[in-house]
């Protein structure tokens, strides 16, 4: 099956709703699992990797959750297709670099995804929009319990699930949330927040995970330790920290509006001005400006537009998604021109930001229960 036909159009994914989704863009839990008596993918020779792939893939494909799934060996995907999957946060950048002997199984509604022979034999993940950590844990826990009936895992009673990297041993779990934090960035509180989150043993990363920068004020917060703490305890700990970050972000926004409204309106107005009028724009600049427009929408400065427009453009303006719409290979410069064309066209229908938010939507805070 063709990946492009399979994937949900960005306009539709952008409309998916979840609790607290104005700050928490998505929740994710991934589990690392390995097969007993087989070398880890990084050390296994190609024939062994292929053998492992061939034993895991049918086990995953036949799960009821994977009915009508997209299942493919990585060597059958083009570089463009892999990049699109990365931009959709469905596979890691590391997995995109894989070829023969690695594979991918993605369920119909793109909420479950199993990477086969990434760093571990299996990296399975569940994703949902908004703050839904318990739900994604329950979903992936179930998939894992089904798979352990069919596959013999490498497991030790003392060390738990054995993983290629000692940093993932034990539960093999990474619980993470993708957060949009323009308020903390603009009010310059982000660094102390990151530091205190780090002190709690949690990692803060950029948009595409490990070793990436926080484009568009988007940060990923996740657990680091996997041994000596149960899955549910990790989920609960992260939930508590996220509730606090959400509160700080909302307070940051409220404080900015109260103390420096002109600065906020200036940032948002300029962002809109450039996005709606540029003739050449990089993907990095686009993301940073779209982030400000998204903030503007949360603050009620664009009363006639739905936020899903910005979320859709967030996906559509990324390099591989842009390339996909054009048959000829584009250079970076050409992409910048076409990106600007698309933005001007899509923002034509959006009136410039009002300078005073509408009473009922403006400044309405969305604080989670603690």
């Amino acid at each position: 099956m063709d990946l492009h036909e399979f994937l949900t159009p960005p306009a539709e994914t952008a409309r998916r709703k979840g609790p607290h989704d104005r700050i928490v863009m998505s929740s994710r839990v991934r589990l690392a699992r390995n097969i007993k008596n087989a070398a880890f993918p990084g050390w296994a020779k190609k024939p062994e990797r292929i053998k492992v792939l061939e034993s895991i893939r049918p086990a995953v494909e036949t799960l009821p959750e994977m009915a009508e799934a997209f299942s493919q060996s990585m060597d059958n995907l083009t570089a463009l297709e892999k990049q699109i999957l990365v931009e959709r946060h469905l596979i890691s950048r590391e997995h995109a670099a894989k070829s023969a002997g690695s594979g991918l199984v993605l369920n119909r509604d793109e909420t479950l995804c199993v990477m086969i022979n990434e760093e571990d034999h299996m990296r399975m993940q569940a994703l949902k929009p908004g703050l839904q950590l318990r739900q994604v844990w329950a979903a992936i826990d179930h998939v894992d319990s089904e798979l352990e009936k069919k596959l013999e895992y490498a497991f030790s009673p003392e060390l738990g699930y054995l993983t290629a990297c000692p940093t993932n041993i034990g539960t093999g779990i990474r619980v993470s949330a993708m957060l949009h934090l323009p308020g903390l960035v603009l009010s310059e509180q982000i660094n102390p927040i990151i530091q205190s989150v780090n002190k709690l043993g949690l990692a803060v990363r950029g948009l595409y995970g490990e070793g990436t920068e926080a484009l568009g004020n988007v940060f990923q917060v996740s657990n680091q330790m996997t041994l000596g703490e149960a899955e549910t305890a990790i989920v609960e700990r992260l939930e508590k920290v996220l509730a606090q970050i959400i509160e700080h972000e909302e307070n940051g926004r409220a404080m900015l509006l109260e103390k420096k409204p002109k600065t906020v309106y200036n940032h948002i107005g300029r962002a809109y001005g450039i996005l709606a009028n540029a003739h050449s724009i990089s993907s990095k600049e686009t993301m940073n400006l779209l982030s400000l427009m998204r903030l503007g929408m949360d603050l009620g400065l664009f009363p006639d537009v739905d936020r899903s427009l910005v979320d859709e453009l967030f996906i559509m303006t990324q390099p591989a998604h842009l390339q996909k719409q054009h048959s000829e290979k584009l250079s970076a410069e050409e992409r910048d021109l076409l990106r600007a064309d698309m933005l001007r066209e899509r923002l034509k229908q959006v009136s410039r930001p009002v300078s005073k938010p509408a009473a009922e939507t403006g400044g309405g805070l969305d604080k989670p229960d603690k």
């Binding site: 390995n34 007993k36 008596n37 087989a38 070398a39 880890f40 990084g42 050390w43 760093e119 826990d141 894992d144 319990s145 352990e148 009936k149 895992y153 490498a154 497991f155 030790s156 009673p157 003392e158 060390l159 738990g160 699930y161 054995l162 290629a164 990297c165 000692p166 940093t167 041993i169 034990g170 539960t171 779990i173 043993g201 680091q224 330790m225 996997t226 041994l227 000596g228 703490e229 149960a230 899955e231 549910t232 305890a233």
Partner: protein
Amino acid sequence: MLCSICKEREATVHLTQIAGDKMQKVDLCEECAKTKGVNDPTGFSLADLLLGLGASQEIEQSSGGVEIKCARCGFTQADFKKAGRLGCPECYKTFAEGLEGLLKSMHKGTRHVGKVPESLRQTRDLSDRLVGLQKKLNKAIEDENFEQAAQLRDQIKQMSAQLGNIAAC
């Protein structure tokens, strides 16, 4: 010129790297160049290569010249230094001693807490109960309560069979 790693074969790959105002040179034979990943220019830095050389020497010294190697997959401690990842699940036993401190420093605990595969949990529960029954049986025999002992013996038999079945599948 001989290869600077194995010092056996003729060096055919000559590398020069200029970092700042310092120039470093390394001469390698084709085989060593391949194992060090030198033909892959993206993931290669001369500094890493030189550092890697030093690190593996250190391990050899610390283990009295005998390098520990995983019997299952052939992975060595030097490979771990280089990759930061292990070769196979069995490596956790092979390198248990060296890993202990590492795991302690990076995790909350050193023992797994949390999910256990169902089949193992069943086995564990059963073997725990078996141990209990065996104790009761011993007590019953001691007390010359043979009727109870016979019952217990049958229960133990049944449970052992169950345990055998689980282990077999």
